[in-house]
C-alpha cells in the first residue's frame, strides 16, 4: 500500500465513501502523520528531541562538573571557559542547564508513571467494581479540592526534600484526574455488546480488564500523560523556586532559579536561562499534547 496522505485515505474510497472527506483519525499511522503535518508540531518534536538529547549526552557536550564550586569565579559573564557565565558559587551555568534537563525530564517521566499507574488502578476499581465507587470517588473529590501546589509543598516540607518525595508530591494531585478519566471511559464501554459478550463467555476479571477495558483508555491516557509530563516539569520548578523542591545542591532548573532570585536585579540571566529551558520544554510538550488530543480524542478536542 502506498503511504497515505491527507487527501488519499488509506481505506479504499468505494468501501467507505464518507471517508473521502473526513481525514482518518485515531490510528497510529494517522497520529504519526499528524504529528509531522504542521510546522508547530514539527518544531515542538525537534525541541523535545534536542532537550532529551541534551539530557542524555550532557557529559559529552563540553560541560564541566555542574556542582564544582569555584569561589574565585563567582557571577562571571559569558566567556569561552563558561559559555553562559557562572553562578553565585562560581559553578558553570551552561553545565548546570545541561544537567538540569536530566532532573526535569526524570521528574516529568516519573510523575507520569506514578500518576497514570495509580490513576488506572483507582479508575478501574471505581469504574468496573462498582462497590468501590462511592468511597474512593469521594476520596478523589476531596483530593481534587485541595490546591495541588499547596498539597505538594506541605508533603515535601514535612517528609523531607528528596527526589522521591518531590515525585510523589507532584504525582498525588494528578491521580484523581487520571482516575476520573479512566473511570468515565470504562463506565462508557462496560455496557458495550463486546464486553457483555465477554462476560457471557465467562471471561475472568483480569482478562476482562486487561483485554477488553484498558485498551479503550489508551488513547486518552496518552494525551493526558503528555499534559501531566509538561505540568510536572512546571510544578517541579515552582516547588524548587519556593524552596520546597528537590535538595538545593542538585543541579535542577528549579533550584537554579531559586538561587538566582537573590541576584536577580544584578544578573537576571541566572533566572532567565533555566526559565527559558523550562518554558521551552513545557511549551513543546504541551503543543505535542494538543496535536495528540486532536487526533486521538476528537470529543475532547471539540470541547477545548
Amino acid at each position: 500500500m502506498t503511504t497515505p496522505t491527507l487527501t488519499e485515505p488509506s481505506v479504499p474510497a468505494q468501501d467507505l465513501p464518507e471517508m473521502t472527506t473526513v481525514p482518518e483519525t485515531g490510528t497510529v499511522k494517522a497520529t504519526l502523520r499528524a504529528v509531522f503535518s504542521t510546522w508547530a508540531a514539527r518544531i515542538s518534536l525537534i525541541v523535545v528531541v534536542l532537550i532529551v538529547a541534551m539530557a542524555l549526552l550532557a557529559p559529552w557536550l563540553g560541560t564541566q562538573d555542574p556542582v564544582q564550586i569555584a569561589p574565585g569565579e563567582r557571577l562571571q559573564g559569558s566567556s569561552l571557559a563558561h559559555f553562559l557565565g557562572t553562578d553565585s558559587y562560581g559553578r558553570d551555568v551552561y553545565s548546570r542547564v545541561a544537567y538540569g534537563a536530566r532532573i526535569s525530564l526524570a521528574v516529568g517521566a516519573g510523575t507520569v508513571v506514578i500518576s497514570v499507574l495509580l490513576g488506572i488502578f483507582f479508575g478501574v476499581l471505581t469504574g468496573y467494581f462498582r462497590w468501590a465507587d462511592l468511597i474512593v470517588m469521594r476520596f478523589m473529590d476531596g483530593l481534587m479540592a485541595i490546591p495541588g501546589i499547596l498539597l505538594a509543598i506541605a508533603l515535601v516540607a514535612i517528609s523531607g526534600a528528596t527526589l522521591t518525595t518531590v515525585l510523589i508530591a507532584i504525582a498525588v494531585p494528578e491521580i484523581p484526574r487520571v482516575a476520573r478519566m479512566v473511570r468515565a471511559v470504562i463506565l462508557g464501554v462496560r455496557t458495550e455488546p463486546y464486553v457483555e459478550a465477554a462476560t457471557c463467555l465467562g471471561t475472568g476479571i483480569w482478562a476482562m480488564v486487561w483485554r477488553h477495558l484498558l485498551p479503550s483508555t489508551l488513547a486518552p491516557l496518552l494525551v493526558q500523560g503528555t499534559y501531566i509530563f509538561a505540568s510536572a516539569i512546571m510544578t517541579e520548578s515552582i516547588l524548587s523556586f519556593l524552596g520546597a523542591g528537590i535538595p538545593p545542591e542538585t543541579p535542577s532548573w528549579g533550584n537554579m532559579m531559586a538561587e538566582g532570585r537573590v541576584y536577580f536585579l544584578l544578573k537576571p540571566e541566572l533566572i532567565l536561562y533555566p526559565g527559558v529551558m523550562v518554558s521551552l520544554t513545557v511549551l513543546s510538550v504541551n503543543m505535542l499534547g494538543d496535536v495528540l488530543r486532536d487526533q486521538l480524542d476528537p470529543r475532547m478536542a471539540k470541547r477545548l
Binding site: 483530593l143 485541595i146 514535612i158 523531607g160 512546571m234 515552582i238 526559565g275 518554558s279
Partner: protein
C-alpha cells in the same frame, strides 16, 4: 430550584469532610514528630512525653481526627506553633492582600481574554487567530515567576514605572494600593488569559455554526451584533465554568506571585508555615483554600443551571 440548591449544598459536605481527613492524614502520617518541632532539639525525653500527652498525640489516630474536626466545627483552629497567635487572627491579617490580588487578576484576565477569544473565533484559521492561539499556549507554558521577574526587570527596574515589590493596603490610599498591584496582577493573569481565551474561542466557534446565528445574519444584523449579542451569550455556560475553574486555580498561582512580589498574603503565610513546619497554620490554610474551591464549584454549578435550565443534576 430551592431543593436543587439544598441538594448541591449538602453534596459539598462529604467532599469537605474528605479534605479534612486527607489534610489530617498527610500531616500526621508523614515522618516528623510535631512535639519535637515545638519543644526544639534540646528537649529531654520526659519533656517530650509530657508535651505529646498534652497535645493528645498519644490518643488513637481516629480519636485525634474527631477531636480536631470537633474543634474546627466550633470555629477553633488552634494557635500557631511558632508565634502562639490564634490561627484565625493570622488568616484574617493576611486575607486582604490575597483577596485584592485575586480579584484584580481575575478582572484583568476576563477583560482581556473574552475579546481575544471572540476575535480569534471570528478570524478562525487566519493570522490573528493563530497569533492568539500561539500566545495562549505560551502563556500557559511560562512559569508565573518567570513572567513576574521579567515584568519587574522591564517595568520596575529599566523603565521605573512601578515599584519593584511590596504591598500597601487600600487604607493607605487607592493610588499607593493600585500601583503596587499592577505588576503582580498582570503577571499572574497570563495563564488565565490563555485558558479563558481558548475556551471562549472554541465555544464561540461552536455556537457560530448554529441555525439562529444564520438567522441573525440573514435578518441583517451586523457581524458585531451577531458576535456580541448571540454568539457570546449562548457560549456563556462553558465560559462561566472556566472562569470558576480559573478562580480555583488562582490559589496555586497566588502562592508564587506573593513570593515574587513580596506581598504579605495567605500564600506567603502558608509558605512561611511550611518552612517552619507550623502544622496548625498549614492545615487551617489548606482547609480554607479547599473550602473556597468547593464553594466556587458550587456557585458555578448553580449559575450553570440558572443560565441553562435544562441542566439539573
Amino acid at each position: 430550584m430551592g431543593v436543587f440548591i439544598l441538594k448541591r449544598l449538602l453534596s459539598a459536605v462529604p467532599v469537605l469532610f474528605m479534605v479534612a481527613v486527607i489534610v489530617f492524614l498527610v500531616l500526621r502520617l508523614s515522618p516528623g514528630d510535631p512535639a519535637v518541632m515545638i519543644a526544639g532539639p534540646n528537649a529531654t525525653p520526659d519533656q517530650l512525653a509530657a508535651l505529646r500527652d498534652a497535645m493528645g498525640l498519644n490518643e488513637p489516630l481516629l480519636t485525634q481526627l474527631f477531636v480536631w474536626l470537633g474543634q474546627i466545627l466550633s470555629g477553633d483552629f488552634g494557635v500557631s506553633l511558632v508565634s502562639g497567635q490564634p490561627v484565625t487572627h493570622l488568616i484574617m491579617d493576611r486575607f486582604g492582600p490575597t483577596l485584592s490580588l485575586s480579584i484584580v487578576t481575575l478582572i484583568i484576565a476576563v477583560v482581556v481574554a473574552i475579546p481575544l477569544g471572540v476575535v480569534a473565533a471570528w478570524q478562525q484559521g487566519k493570522l490573528l487567530d493563530r497569533l492568539v492561539m500561539a500566545g495562549s499556549v505560551l502563556g500557559f507554558s511560562v512559569p508565573v515567576f518567570i513572567i513576574g521577574y521579567t515584568m519587574i526587570l522591564i517595568f520596575a527596574r529599566i523603565l521605573g514605572w512601578f515599584p519593584v515589590q511590596g504591598y500597601k493596603p487600600l487604607s493607605d490610599g487607592f493610588g499607593e494600593f493600585a500601583i503596587r498591584l499592577v505588576l503582580p496582577a498582570v503577571s499572574l493573569s497570563f495563564p488565565y488569559i490563555a485558558l479563558i481565551a481558548r475556551i471562549v474561542r472554541t465555544n464561540v466557534i461552536e455556537v457560530m455554526n448554529e441555525d439562529y446565528i444564520r438567522t441573525a445574519r440573514a435578518k441583517g444584523l451586523t457581524e458585531r451584533g451577531v458576535l456580541m449579542g448571540h454568539a457570546l451569550g449562548n457560549a456563556a455556560v462553558p465560559i462561566i465554568t472556566i472562569i470558576g475553574v480559573s478562580i480555583a486555580m488562582l490559589i496555586g498561582g497566588v502562592v508564587v506571585t506573593e513570593s515574587v512580589f513580596n506581598i504579605p498574603g495567605l500564600g506567603r503565610l502558608v509558605l512561611e508555615a511550611v518552612l517552619a513546619r507550623d502544622y496548625t497554620v498549614i492545615q487551617s490554610v489548606i482547609l480554607l483554600f479547599s473550602t473556597i474551591y468547593v464553594f466556587i464549584n458550587l456557585v458555578v454549578d448553580l449559575l450553570y443551571s440558572l443560565f441553562d435550565p435544562r441542566i439539573r443534576y
